[in-house]
């Protein structure tokens, strides 16, 4: 399918551009369809394009040497990924995988330079987008380096665990995120860490505390 101006308008990189400018940019953009589970980019490989999600969602993640996955973000329609390497000429900083069927718009590095030269407004928009990405990453660094989110989630689970004296309210990821003062993505990650450490087990609609003492120790770190 041809690249659509309407979809370009919804991308923050192109905010404030008039229809003629969007039409000229459209010529430099290519469309790519990706199937669920397909890996779009691999960390540390040479980068030649940045991508915008126009439908579906993409998971951007890093993988440790022992295969542990760290999700950096989920990219939703209108948002971009792989911005950094096309600007600094380095390799891909993370891997990207489609979490469902996805349609992407891509711009090759050389074409992006042409767009930036011809449309100064785009440069300002890019600064804004990259600044927002830095805010998100700084918040993630804070969560990971101080480990306090996992401890807070452990504490929440201990507080909400049913001890047989009466019904306790059920908890959603959103509620846990609000209570722990973090993003929903961090809750999934924290629960996975607690499961890996043997303190809990996730089973259907239950979070089963399998080692209360271990969970208490984590809560107190």
């Amino acid at each position: 399918m041809a690249v659509q101006t309407e979809l370009l308008k919804a991308i923050p990189y192109f905010t404030g551009l008039n229809p003629e400018e969007l039409d000229s940019i459209k010529e430099l953009i290519f469309e790519k369809e990706v199937e669920r589970g397909e890996v779009i980019l691999l960390e540390d490989e040479p980068a030649d394009a940045l991508y915008f999600v126009t439908s579906g969602a993409v998971k951007v993640f890093k993988t440790s040497s022992d295969g542990k996955e760290q999700i950096l973000s989920f990219i939703r329609p209108g948002e971009s990924f792989n911005d950094v390497p096309v600007f600094d000429s380095g390799t891909n900083i993370a891997s990207a995988q489609a979490v469902g069927p996805v349609v992407l718009y891509g711009i090759r590095k050389n074409d992006l330079e042409v767009i930036l030269k011809n449309h100064p407004k785009v440069s300002l928009n890019v600064s804004r987008v990259l600044s927002q990405q830095i805010r998100g990453l700084v918040s993630l660094v804070e969560d990971l380096s101080f480990r306090h989110v996992i401890a807070r989630v452990a504490k929440i689970l201990l507080e909400y665990a049913s001890d047989g004296t009466g019904p306790k309210p059920r908890l959603t990821h959103q509620e846990m995120a609000a209570m722990a003062g973090t993003a929903r993505e961090m809750i999934g990650r924290s629960l996975k860490s607690l499961e890996d450490e043997g303190a809990i087990r996730l089973h259907r609609h239950r979070i089963v505390i399998t080692d209360k003492e271990a969970l208490r120790e984590i809560a107190e770190t």
Binding site: G100, K168, L202, I209
Partner: protein, 72 residues
């Protein structure tokens, strides 16, 4: 007790991202609002993955968990 994702219809904007991420194929759009079909299949993965809740940009889907202590 609900045994599947809980949908707040008025919050759903019909974007369909949750359908894409659902491994168990239990979500469909009906009149542009997300709807759960085949509730029991939500546990095909034997655990509630909560990907739909995580991806939803408007917070329309929630997966409520019971927190219980394992009896020894």
């Amino acid at each position: 007790m609900a045994d599947s994702p809980v949908i707040e219809r008025e919050k759903c904007d019909g974007c369909g991202l949750c359908i894409d991420v659902c491994h168990c194929n239990i979500l469909v759009l009906v009149d542009n609002v997300i709807t759960v079909i085949e509730e029991k299949k939500c546990v095909s993965c034997n655990r509630w993955c909560a990907q739909c809740e995580m991806i939803c940009p408007t917070g329309a889907i929630t997966i409520p968990f019971d927190v219980v202590i394992e009896e020894r």
